[in-house]
Symmetry: C2
DNA sequence: TTGGTTTATTTTGCATACAAACTGTTTGAA
DNA sequence: TTCAAACAGTTTGTATGCAAAATAAACCAA
């Protein structure tokens, strides 16, 4: 564009780099019947113990409204279960189904492979640097 | 996550960095009644002369289906006009309205300011490096 | 010339994203 | 104790993003 070209607009570059990475992972996940976001939530559940929807949202920077819909589809497809919290009726706790637990290793490996593919052209130093720079980008 | 943590997943880091930048620009564009994507298309039109919808899509890596909807809203809001190509009736050429041309300087400046804000913590070297790394990320 | 193929765009359907409104619970201060 | 404010989630409405099908026009080989 002018005077800064498209290729110099950080918002555009971020959008397109994200799009490429997202698309790559999305295609890879097709066989599992998951989307990248759904996969992200499952991986969080492999680590957290029975978190509330709010916990998940904060950890993954996911909007409550967005998360609600994603959890609908994950529950519908038999990956997660919504359990009401016994002490606070406002809170919904999210648990994994047996099927999700069984697929854990497969799913983790799938993400690792996708990350490796996306970064295959970068040296170790470039990978570290890129990650640092991305974390430091301000809102 | 495990063994790679959330903060080490390039797909996640890209998604969140993009989200922050996008949100920042989105809030900034509210007064103009534009979204970041709509703004991107207007800036492309400031440079290209009467491009076809396909030209725009290729330049901006926008899906034809997505572009069609964005053009609907830009036309509806009085920013652009769809003109049928006289030589090839399949092609739609996109033109700016007078109002859009008048706001050109304002809009360009808005993006420059947003870019500067988003990158305010980075040195000149870091900015160059980040942009190169983003361009090299594979699909 | 014509009919099959390719091309340009739109439409439809589904999945994020997020603002704003809404529901139901819990909390805290008067 | 009680009621308004705060909190957790869901719903609704709008805007991308993309796959797949539909539509219309142009092209091209037999």
């Amino acid at each position: 564009m002018e005077p800064t070209s498209v290729d110099d607009c950080i918002i555009f570059l971020l959008a397109k780099a994200y799009q490429r990475a997202h698309q790559h992972f999305k295609r890879r996940l097709l066989i599992h019947g998951l989307t990248p976001i759904q996969h992200l939530i499952l991986e969080a559940l492999f680590v957290l113990d029975n978190p509330s929807a709010g916990d998940l949202g904060r950890l993954l920077s996911l909007d409550a409204a967005t998360l609600s819909g994603v959890l609908d589809r994950l529950a519908e497809a038999g990956w997660v279960v919504r359990n009401p919290d016994p002490d606070d009726k406002r809170i919904i706790r999210i648990g994994l189904t047996e099927r999700a637990v069984e697929k854990r290793d497969d799913l983790v490996q799938e993400r690792q492979a996708a990350n490796e593919e996306i970064l295959r052209d970068f040296s170790r130093e470039e990978r570290v640097l890129l990650k640092r720079l991305l974390k430091d980008i301000r809102g």
